[in-house]
C-alpha cells in the first residue's frame, strides 16, 4: 500500500504546486504592454501585423480568432516549429524527447481508461469487446513508443549537452541530473514492460488500485523503481525550470499575445490606478524616492 500512498502524495503535491505556481503568476500585477508580433489571434493581418495597421483602429471592433491561436499552439506543441526552424540540431533530440513524454501522458490516460473498463466488469484482453480490444493493443503501443522516443531524445540531449561546447557552457550539473532523472524513469518503465509485462497489465492494475483505494497484489522490481522515481520526480519538478510548459502559457498569452488595450473605466485602468498609488523606493537621484508613482511621473526629474 506504501506505493499507492507515495503515488497519491506525489501526484497531489504536483497538482497542488502546479496550481500554486499558476496562481502566483496569474496574480502578478498587471504589467505594461510588451507584445511581440505576429500575435497568433490577430485576424486579417497575415504578414504578422496588428489592428494598429488600421486607421482609427478604436472605431473598429477588434477581431480576434481563438481558433487561429489554438491552431498555432497545436502546431507548435506537436511540431516544435520554432526549434525546428532556429535550432535544427537540437530539434532532432528535443522533439522525440517531448513527443515521448506527451505519448506517455496519453499512455497514462489509456491505463486509466483500461482500469475504468475493468472496473465496469469488462475484460481488457484479446478477444474482448471492441473498446477493450483497442485499449488492450493501444496501451502497449503508445507506451512503448513513448518510452523509446523519450529515451532516444533524452540520451541525445544528454550527449549533445556534453559534447556541444556552446551548450556545455550553459549547462550546470543540475541540468545533467534532471535529464538523467527523467531517463532513469523512462528506462525503468521500459524494462518493466520488456522483461515482465508486455501488455502493461500491472500498471493497469495499479491504476485500478489507485482509483479504488485498494492494495495491489504484486508489482515487479523495475515497475516499483519506476513508480518511486516518478513520484519523487513529481515532487521535485515544480521547483525547477522544467515547468516551462506552464511558463509558456504566460509568456505567450499574458505577454507576447496579450494585445489588450486599456479602455477608459475598464478593469485594467482600475488595476493600474491602484498600482500608481504605490510608493517608489528606487534610489537614483532623478527619482524622488518615497513618493507615489503617480506623483513622481507628474514631476520633472531632479538634476544633479
Amino acid at each position: 500500500m506504501w506505493l499507492q500512498l507515495l503515488t497519491y502524495t506525489s501526484f497531489s503535491f504536483f497538482v497542488f504546486a502546479f496550481i500554486v505556481k499558476a496562481i502566483k503568476y496569474a496574480r502578478m500585477p498587471v504589467h505594461l504592454r510588451w507584445e511581440l508580433y505576429p500575435v497568433a489571434n490577430e485576424v486579417g493581418h497575415d504578414s504578422g501585423g496588428s489592428y494598429l495597421e488600421e486607421l482609427d483602429w478604436w472605431t473598429r471592433p477588434q477581431r480576434k480568432s481563438y481558433i487561429k491561436a489554438i491552431a498555432y499552439i497545436v502546431r507548435e506543441a506537436f511540431l516544435f516549429k520554432k526549434c525546428c526552424r532556429n535550432n535544427r540540431g537540437l530539434w532532432y533530440f528535443t522533439y522525440p524527447f517531448h513527443m515521448g513524454l506527451f505519448l506517455l501522458i496519453g499512455w497514462l490516460i489509456l491505463l486509466f481508461i483500461g482500469a475504468a473498463t475493468m472496473l465496469a466488469g469488462i475484460s481488457v484482453a484479446e478477444g474482448a469487446s471492441a473498446q477493450a480490444w483497442i485499449v488492450h493493443y493501444l496501451t502497449p503501443g503508445v507506451g512503448v513508443i513513448g518510452f523509446v522516443f523519450g529515451i532516444f531524445g533524452g540520451v541525445g540531449l544528454l550527449i549533445k549537452r556534453l559534447v556541444d561546447t556552446n551548450l556545455r557552457a550553459y549547462t550546470a550539473p543540475v541540468d545533467y541530473f534532471n535529464l538523467s532523472f527523467i531517463l532513469a524513469i523512462l528506462l525503468s518503465g521500459l524494462s518493466a514492460w520488456y522483461f515482465f509485462d508486455p501488455t502493461f497489465g500491472t500498471p493497469r492494475e495499479l491504476m485500478m488500485s489507485l482509483v479504488t483505494f485498494s492494495p495491489i497484489a504484486d508489482t515487479n522490481i523495475p515497475m516499483t523503481i519506476n513508480i518511486v522515481l516518478l513520484s519523487l520526480f513529481l515532487i521535485y519538478m515544480p521547483f525547477t525550470h522544467m515547468m516551462h510548459g506552464l511558463a509558456k502559457y504566460f509568456t505567450y498569452h499574458r505577454v507576447f499575445w496579450e494585445d489588450e488595450p486599456s479602455r477608459p473605466g475598464g478593469d485594467i485602468e482600475k488595476k493600474v490606478e491602484k498600482l500608481l498609488n504605490q510608493p517608489v523606493s528606487w534610489s537614483a537621484p532623478h527619482i524622488q524616492s518615497g513618493k507615489r508613482w503617480s506623483e513622481i511621473t507628474s514631476e520633472r526629474p531632479q538634476t544633479k
Binding site: M28, P29, L32, P173, V272, S283, S298
Partner: protein, 531 residues
C-alpha cells in the same frame, strides 16, 4: 578560448574580448576584399586608464574606475539592493511578470543565438550571445538572493562572483544589445532576453544612476526640462518651424503654414525633433501631404510636445512614464481627436502600445501611427502621383519598434508598391527583419569608440542585407535607396553607410517614407529628394 559565464567576474585587468575585423562576419562585394573594411578604433590609453572597458574595449557608459575598496563595496551593495527591487512587485510592477518568467524558465538551449545580429556579426563571440548576460544575471540572483542558490551553488551552476568588475562589465554588456527582441521571437518558451537586458539597464539607471549620458542627461532629462532631447527650446522650435515654411516655399512655390498649438485640430502630430535638425525635409513632407490632403492637424510648441522621442523605453520606467504622460496631457489640453506619431519607431511602440496602460481616465487619448494615415491619403486619390518620379531601386527597412514590436507591417509596403516601381524586399523582411544596429538608443550614442562598435558590429548584418538586396545593381552610378520610416534607423543607416563609404562605393543612401510620397506627387515641379 571560449569565454565561460563566470569569466565575467574574473581577471579585471584582462579584456574579455578584442574586437577584430578578421574574426567578424564577412561582408559581400565590395567589402569582401582584404582591407576593404574600416579598422575598429581602439580606446586611447588615457581612456583605458580612466574608464571601465575590460569587457570588449568599448565604453558606452564611461564608468570611471573605482578609487577605493569602499567605492567597490558600495557599488556591490547598491546593485544587490537594486536587484531586490527589480524582483519586488511594489517597485517593479511595470514588468515583473514578463521578467520573472524569462528569468525562471530559460531552458538554456541557445535556440535564440542565431537570431541575434550582434552575435552573428561579431563572429559569434560568446559574450554577445543573447543568453550570456541573462545567464550571468540569473546566476547572480540565485547565488545572492536565494537560499537554495547559496547552499547548492556548485550543483546549480551559480558560479558568478559579484564584485565591482562583474557589475561594471554587466552594465556595459547591457548596452551591447539593441533590444530588437528577435531572440524572443525565436524562443520556443517565450523567454525574452531583450527584456532581461532592458530591465538590467533599468536597475542601473533607477537604483545606481548609471545610464548613457546621451539617453539620460542629454536625452530624457533634457526633453522634460528644456523641451527636446536635442536641447531645442520651444522658441528654437518655433524658429525652425518658420525656416521649414520658407524651405517648403522655395521647393514648391507654395506658402504652406505649419500649424502650431491649434486647439481642436483633428490630429496632433508628434515627430522626432532630431529630424528637424538632421532631416527637416521629413516634417516638410508631412506638412505638404497634410496640407494637400486637407487634413486638420497641428504641432505643439509645449515643452516636450514637439519631440516624439521617449528614450525612457530603453532604460528607465520613471522617465518613460513622465514623457508619455506629458504627451498625453498636451494632446488633452489641445483638445485634439488623436495623436499621430510621425516616422519614429520607438515613439510608435511607447505611445501606442507600452504606455497604453499609463494613460488613465482623461489621459487615455486616441493614439495611432502615421503609416495607416499616410496609406489612407495615398490610396484615397486626394493626392495625384507619378510613380516614374521614384523610378530607382529601393528597398524597405523594417524598424523593429514599428514592425515586430507594434505589428505595423503592411501599410508602408502598400504605399511603396504604389509609388516606387522598382521596390524590392530585403531578406528577411517584415516581422523577421534584422535591427539596423541603432536600436535601443545606440543610434544617438557616440561616446568614445562606441560609434565604431555600432557600425562595425551592431549594424553589420543590416549592411550585409542591404548589399545583398542590391547585388544586381551595386554599381555606384546606379542610385538606390533604403526607405527607413524611423528617425533612429535613418540616423544609424546614415552613420553605417558613412563608416563603410557605402554611398561612394555602392550609391546607396537612406530616405524616409513621407519624402518618397512627396517626391512622387504630380504637383511637385522639382524633385523633393536630394540629387
Amino acid at each position: 578560448m571560449k569565454k565561460r559565464i563566470k569569466d565575467i567576474s574574473q581577471n579585471p585587468d584582462v579584456q574579455m574580448l578584442n574586437i577584430s575585423v578578421e574574426e567578424s562576419m564577412p561582408l559581400p562585394y565590395p567589402f569582401n576584399e582584404p582591407n576593404s573594411e574600416p579598422l575598429f578604433k581602439p580606446l586611447t590609453e588615457e581612456q583605458k586608464n580612466r574608464y571601465e572597458c575590460s569587457l570588449d574595449g568599448v565604453s558606452a557608459l564611461g564608468i570611471p574606475k573605482p578609487k577605493s575598496k569602499e567605492e567597490e563595496e558600495k557599488l556591490v551593495g547598491a546593485f544587490i539592493g537594486g536587484l531586490r527591487k527589480l524582483l519586488r512587485k511594489e517597485d517593479n510592477w511595470t514588468f515583473l511578470q514578463p521578467l520573472v518568467l524569462s528569468l525562471n524558465y530559460c531552458a538554456k538551449c541557445n535556440t535564440c543565438s542565431e537570431s541575434c545580429q550582434i552575435f552573428l556579426a561579431s563572429g559569434r563571440q560568446e559574450i554577445y550571445r543573447p543568453t550570456y548576460r541573462s545567464e550571468v544575471l540569473r546566476r547572480i540572483i540565485k547565488r545572492y538572493l536565494t537560499k537554495r542558490g547559496k547552499v547548492l551553488a556548485k550543483f546549480t551552476g551559480n558560479d558568478v562572483e559579484l564584485n565591482w568588475t562583474t557589475i561594471a562589465r554587466l552594465a556595459e554588456l547591457a548596452y551591447r544589445c539593441t533590444l530588437c527582441r528577435r531572440c524572443a521571437q525565436a524562443c520556443p518558451i517565450g523567454v525574452d532576453n531583450g527584456l532581461i537586458t532592458r530591465e538590467l539597464r533599468k536597475l542601473f539607471s533607477q537604483e545606481l544612476g548609471i545610464a548613457p549620458k546621451e539617453l539620460h542627461e542629454l536625452g530624457t532629462v533634457q526633453q522634460l526640462n528644456i523641451g527636446s532631447s536635442t536641447g531645442m527650446s520651444p522658441k528654437a522650435f518655433l524658429d525652425i518651424k518658420e525656416f521649414l515654411e520658407e524651405e517648403i516655399e522655395e521647393k514648391t512655390g507654395k506658402r504652406i503654414k505649419i500649424p502650431v498649438d491649434q486647439k481642436g485640430a483633428d490630429i496632433l502630430l508628434i515627430n522626432n525633433a532630431g529630424e528637424l535638425l538632421a532631416w527637416p525635409e521629413s516634417l516638410e513632407a508631412f506638412a505638404i501631404i497634410f496640407n494637400t490632403a486637407g487634413i486638420s492637424w497641428t504641432l505643439s510648441s509645449e515643452l516636450g510636445g514637439y519631440d516624439a522621442v521617449n528614450y525612457g523605453v530603453w532604460y528607465d520606467d520613471v522617465q518613460l512614464a513622465r514623457i508619455a504622460l506629458k504627451h498625453a496631457r498636451i494632446a488633452r489640453e489641445l483638445k485634439v481627436r488623436k495623436i499621430v506619431v510621425g516616422e519614429c519607431g520607438h515613439a510608435h511602440k511607447v505611445t501606442t502600445v507600452i504606455a497604453d496602460r499609463l494613460f488613465t481616465r482623461e489621459l487615455n487619448v486616441h493614439r495611432e501611427s502615421c503609416l495607416p494615415l499616410l496609406e489612407d491619403i495615398v490610396f484615397s486619390n486626394r493626392l495625384k502621383f507619378d510613380s516614374k518620379k521614384n523610378n530607382f531601386p529601393i528597398t524597405l527597412h523594417d524598424p523593429c519598434n514599428m514592425v515586430r514590436l507594434t505589428g505595423i507591417v503592411e501599410p508602408q509596403r502598400r504605399i511603396l508598391r504604389k509609388i516606387c516601381p522598382q521596390f524590392r524586399e530585403m531578406e528577411p523582411h517584415g516581422v523577421d527583419n534584422y535591427c539596423c544596429g541603432g536600436g535601443s538608443g545606440f543610434a544617438i550614442m557616440h561616446s568614445m569608440n562606441f560609434s565604431d562598435w555600432r557600425s562595425s558590429v551592431a549594424g553589420k548584418v543590416k549592411l550585409r542585407q542591404v548589399l545583398e538586396t542590391f547585388r544586381d545593381v551595386i554599381d555606384p552610378d546606379s542610385k538606390k535607396y533604403v526607405c527607413a520610416p524611423c528617425s533612429n534607423c535613418k540616423g544609424q543607416l546614415r552613420d553605417l553607410f558613412h563608416y563603410y563609404g557605402v554611398w561612394e562605393k555602392c550609391g546607396i543612401r537612406c530616405v524616409g517614407l513621407a519624402e518618397l510620397i512627396v517626391n512622387a506627387m504630380v504637383d511637385m515641379k522639382m524633385p523633393f529628394l536630394p540629387p
